[in-house]
Symmetry: C2
Subunit: 252 residues, 2 copies
DNA sequence: GCTCCTTTGTTATTATTTAACATTAATTTA
DNA sequence: TAAATTAATGTTAAATAATAACAAAGGAGC
């Protein structure tokens, strides 16, 4: 109930750019002003909205106003990534030990995830910061050199460390996929780390939005047979879907 | 006169990200609040600033906020910490290898720091995210369990890792200090980590705002003789200053 | 010097936000 | 399932901030 409303408020603000509290009250006649205020506070904490006197403004709008092209990866295929992340979030059970990577999809996943008792290992510091808001989640961050483009860390030492760690699930995404080259990324040490994670994980879930298909990145970290479940969006090509299913991969 | 001030207001806002009117008044003691308000109105029309209740925010900051998970923890003694951080930032030279801790003062330090070639090791993920914006800085994040209150990580494995790492400078802060109990924090593993860092650092700089004095936290990680330079604010008690200087510590 | 115009300061008014508490709904636990 | 706990919402009063309106001060041009 609250969750949905929050989402709606964010959406209408993204659409209209800027609204006064009065306008928001008109749009949501069933809740009090105070509740809307509280919603805005929360959206502000999530970085989706800026509160201004008398109302609020969507961050998207601010970016437009400032005239700067916002070239971050966070916007590429963002809607698909959110849907994928929401789906993945439903697969997380209480008490499990999970590895999550540091990609943008993982970032959305950590936002959507329920606040349940579980152990999460991640190499994404943005993911870690997001998860830090959930009080039941225990977080362990992989150490190592930070890559500035995707805010993820990796190191040979971390790979060693994971020798004696086990995961129920590893939820990762790739920067690129082709049937011949498998799933690939752009960092050697990250690739090594992920290979090690897969060795220790009981199930591997791959989040792959369709924009990644047909692309190749330098370091392959997984082939079709390494993964168990594929979570993707609805424009995922049919022939690829068949290919995955032939390899006993559940496609969602 | 007006033009210059407008420019200055815009600059300081770009730098500090967000300021209350009160802070602006401190920064511009010669003009009235109303004038500053009018300045903000104008900057808002120019699209350089977003006015929020109680102050304003630079558009640049808004863009950052939208990318990051924004954990707002408006700090106690924030002004003192900023001054301390600014001072500490001047002590960083090109090409050095530096350890920075994960405290809030360190967070401000990473904002104020120049974008020069250097290697920074940190156990603070908020610090790491901030530094990620500087393209010349090479960042290594300490791995381990994340403490949600201060967004810092630590682990015995990280301590091992630092056995073969050297630092020119370690810049840290403490949660508490008394002459008898030394510098203390609230985490055993973090304390262990810092002790190890001090062993490998040529110089240790301690950032300590005066609100920390006379307090005690459970884990002592350093005594007076372990540190070389103390960076503090101007309400630091005189008798403590003498005490530090007796121990060959430079007080700034 | 004066006059017009811009900038700044002061105060009173208005509007918005926060805080505090009461109430209801939802979740957990026994 | 009911009781207990926690989270969400609503209501009101109090605090806070923003605006408006006007007065005063500073400058530029004559």
């Amino acid at each position: 109930m609250k969750r949905e409303r929050l989402e709606e408020v964010a959406e209408i603000l993204d659409k209209r750019g800027k609204m006064t509290l009065e306008q928001l009250e008109e749009a949501f006649p069933d809740v009090s002003q105070m509740t809307l205020r509280r919603d805005l506070s929360q959206l502000e904490e999530d970085g989706r909205v800026i509160r201004i006197r008398g109302g609020a403004m969507s961050v998207k709008e601010v970016q437009k106003v400032s005239g700067e092209a916002y070239t971050k990866k966070t916007t590429v295929n963002m809607d698909a990534k959110i849907v994928i992340a929401q789906k993945a979030a439903t697969l997380i059970d209480e008490g499990t030990s999970i590895f999550i990577d540091g990609g943008t999809t993982a970032m959305y996943l950590s936002k959507e995830m329920p606040d349940i008792k579980c152990n999460i290992f991640t190499n994404g510091i943005a993911v870690a910061m997001e998860l830090a808001q959930k009080k039941n989640v225990d977080i362990t961050v992989v150490g190592g050199q930070l890559m500035k483009d995707n805010l993820s860390t990796s190191s040979p030492a971390a790979k060693e460390y994971f020798n004696n760690t086990n995961f129920e699930i590893a939820i990762v995404s790739a920067l690129a996929f082709t049937p011949e080259h498998g799933f690939s990324c752009n960092s050697q040490t990250e690739s090594d780390l992920l290979k090690q994670v897969f060795r220790k994980a009981r199930h591997v879930y791959m989040m792959l939005d369709s924009s990644k298909i047909g692309k190749i990145n330098p370091y392959t970290f997984a082939q079709l047979e390494d993964i168990d479940v594929l979570i993707t969006d609805d424009v995922f090509p049919r022939e690829y879907k068949a290919l995955f299913e032939q390899n006993d991969i559940v496609v969602m």
